[in-house]
């Protein structure tokens, strides 16, 4: 064996060891989420259940409040945000890409700047009062609109990449044939940017699905709470969690995110879609 072969084996061994360490440190904190739901005596330890059972899920199923949170409230909020973000962002980025609106560069600049400035808890103080004045406290509409406002700037940048990458010749041909601008957008451009719309829609849905801060500030009635907040219904008054049910519920709550990740990864390859330019 010459030294090159030895070096290459050494490098491969090092990479393997490195991968094992990194993979282990990233997966260990999640192991509890995989073992506890199937263990009827789950505590905070990670133990492989000796008699794996679905009893925890059955018990969770009987918690009407938590089930409504997951299968009704989360779907309404996630669905609403998904449709609004995808629709408004697609229109806006199409407008930015295909026309020369005066002040376009200023608009883009304001979008980047204020989407990072007006965010998080700091933004929730004025936004709460705004939603209060609009009479939308404790409504799905309030939560959906506020989330859409927060996600829209990034969504527009993701969409713009997709729209800039499709050829303009079809749209121009359609225009020459006398199609209206709405028709060109709907029947010519939209089918071509469908992958972009799907990516933005999924991205918005996953963001809304996991959100905690916005619904916790804007919602009041237990009936409308999403799963992120309903998870805490598995705590007793004294603040001790019912771990078997909590873990099973958290597991159910996570599944849609994993499925959507797999779909995006399989169809498009998980990568950055626009936004981050350097």
């Amino acid at each position: 064996m010459n030294s090159f072969v030895i070096r290459s084996w050494l490098a491969r061994g090092l990479l393997f060891a490195f991968s094992v360490v990194i993979a282990a440190s990233f997966v260990t904190p999640l192991l509890w989420l995989i073992t506890a739901p199937f263990n009827t005596q789950a505590n905070l330890a990670v133990t492989i259940p000796t008699n794996p059972s679905l009893a925890n899920f059955e018990a969770v199923y009987h918690n009407k409040f938590a089930m409504r949170a997951l299968f009704q409230n989360n779907l309404i909020i996630g669905g609403g945000v998904m449709v609004l973000v995808a629709g408004v962002a697609t229109m806006a980025s199409y407008g930015l890409s295909r026309t020369h609106v005066p002040g376009r560069d200023v608009l883009v600049y304001v979008l980047i700047l204020f989407s990072s400035v007006v965010s998080g808890t700091a933004a929730m103080v004025p936004i709460f009062l705004l939603v209060f004045r609009l009479g939308l406290i404790d409504t799905y509409a309030g939560v959906i609109l506020v989330m859409t406002g927060g996600l829209l700037p990034s969504a527009i940048f993701i969409m713009r990449d997709f729209i800039d990458s499709i050829p303009r010749s079809y749209e121009e041909a359609a225009l020459v044939c006398g199609a209206s601008s709405l028709r060109v957008f709907r029947d010519v451009a939209l089918p071509m940017v469908r992958p972009g719309v799907v990516v933005v829609a999924i991205w918005a849905f996953v963001n809304a699905w996991g959100a905690f801060l916005i619904p916790s500030v804007l919602l009041r009635s237990p009936d409308r709470m999403p799963a992120s907040i309903a998870s805490y219904s598995f705590y007793t008054e004294a603040g001790t969690p019912n771990l078997t049910l909590l873990s099973a519920y958290a597991f159910l709550y996570t599944i849609p995110v994993l499925v959507l990740y797999l779909i995006v990864n399989w169809r498009f390859g998980f990568r950055f879609f626009g936004g981050i330019k350097s």
Partner: protein, 302 residues
């Protein structure tokens, strides 16, 4: 931005942009202006000052920056200090360091190892925040937690993480949570480096460190800056530690986002005071965002 010819007249463009512009005005620009005005009042949610807030001038700011008490736990100065430690530890060192290490280890490599590592790191990033908070409470538990089982096996003791080392706990947590972004950004950036540069260096026998210092680092300087500014910005505003520690014990993990939340949305709901904190936070955000935009612009120009 390259200028391509327009397909439609500007009038049509304005129609397409109107919904987005409305959202930006109502949910970004208006709150930004409103929070400044609110910060000079004693607006609360309940009580007499709810319907008729009074103008109190700079009182809220005086209270925030009161030199006698602002560094005590649970006050603004202390929150800023904890946030700084949190950002430096979890974002700048944890996420960016680990992200760079992983991206670099898999530079120009494909295969199962890369798939497994990337998938796990991304999972930590996309799972709902309440769920990861629960799994981390289990992971860090003094008695049953996996972390302490591992530490004890290798003879490193059994600390009570969330009570004895709460700040280290949320730093560890947030490093784990957010590494994916830096990893993806750096691994994308590394792909833009022409292979010939690296091959030439290998031919002349450069070590891994030399390659990093003389090829990767200079070429990636822009990406590294972008990454550091963005993760600083996000980590500065992140609220997730609240789900792990609630800001405690004894306010030792009360970062500014939690301090704002506690002031405005708990207890007496002091929106006026909460707004003054929000104004300081937004000004810091504005500073970071302007640095970011300036750095992009300078790179485009060169």
């Amino acid at each position: 931005m390259e200028r391509k010819h327009a397909i439609f007249p500007a009038r049509v463009g304005i129609i397409f942009l109107t919904p987005a512009i409305l959202f930006v005005i109502v949910f970004l620009l208006y709150p930004f202006v409103r929070v400044f005005l609110l910060s000079f009042t004693n607006q609360t949610l309940l009580g007499t000052t709810a319907p008729n807030p009074e103008f109190v001038g700079l009182d809220n700011y005086r209270h925030l920056f009161n030199p006698d008490r602002w560094m005590r736990l649970g006050e603004f100065g202390s929150a800023l200090k904890i946030t700084t430690q949190f950002v430096v530890g979890s974002a700048l060192i944890g996420q960016a360091g680990m992200g760079m290490l992983i991206a670099w280890a898999f530079y120009r490599k494909r295969g199962v190892l890369r798939e497994v590592v990337f998938t796990l790191v991304i999972l930590a990033w996309i799972i709902p925040e309440t769920v990861v908070a629960f799994t981390w409470v289990a992971f860090l538990d003094w008695e049953f937690g996996t972390l302490n089982s591992v530490l004890e096996t290798v003879g490193l003791g059994r600390p009570d993480w969330l009570f004895e080392r709460p700040l280290q706990s949320i730093i560890l947590f947030n490093s784990w949570r957010g590494t994916a972004f830096s990893m993806l950004l750096f691994s994308g950036a590394l792909e833009t480096i022409p292979p010939s540069y690296v091959e030439t260096a290998e031919v002349v026998g450069a070590t891994a460190w030399q390659k990093f210092r003389d090829i990767f680092f200079p070429l990636l300087r822009g990406h590294i800056l972008t990454d550091l500014i963005l993760i600083t910005l996000w980590t500065f505003n992140v609220f997730t530690p609240f789900l792990l520690t609630g800001g405690g014990p004894a306010k030792r993990t009360e970062v500014v986002s939690i301090y704002t939340y506690r002031t405005a949305f708990m207890g007496r709901h002091e929106f006026g005071k909460g707004s003054s904190i929000a104004v300081v936070m937004m000004l810091i955000n504005l500073g970071l965002a302007l640095i970011y935009l300036a750095s992009i612009r300078r790179r485009r120009a060169t």
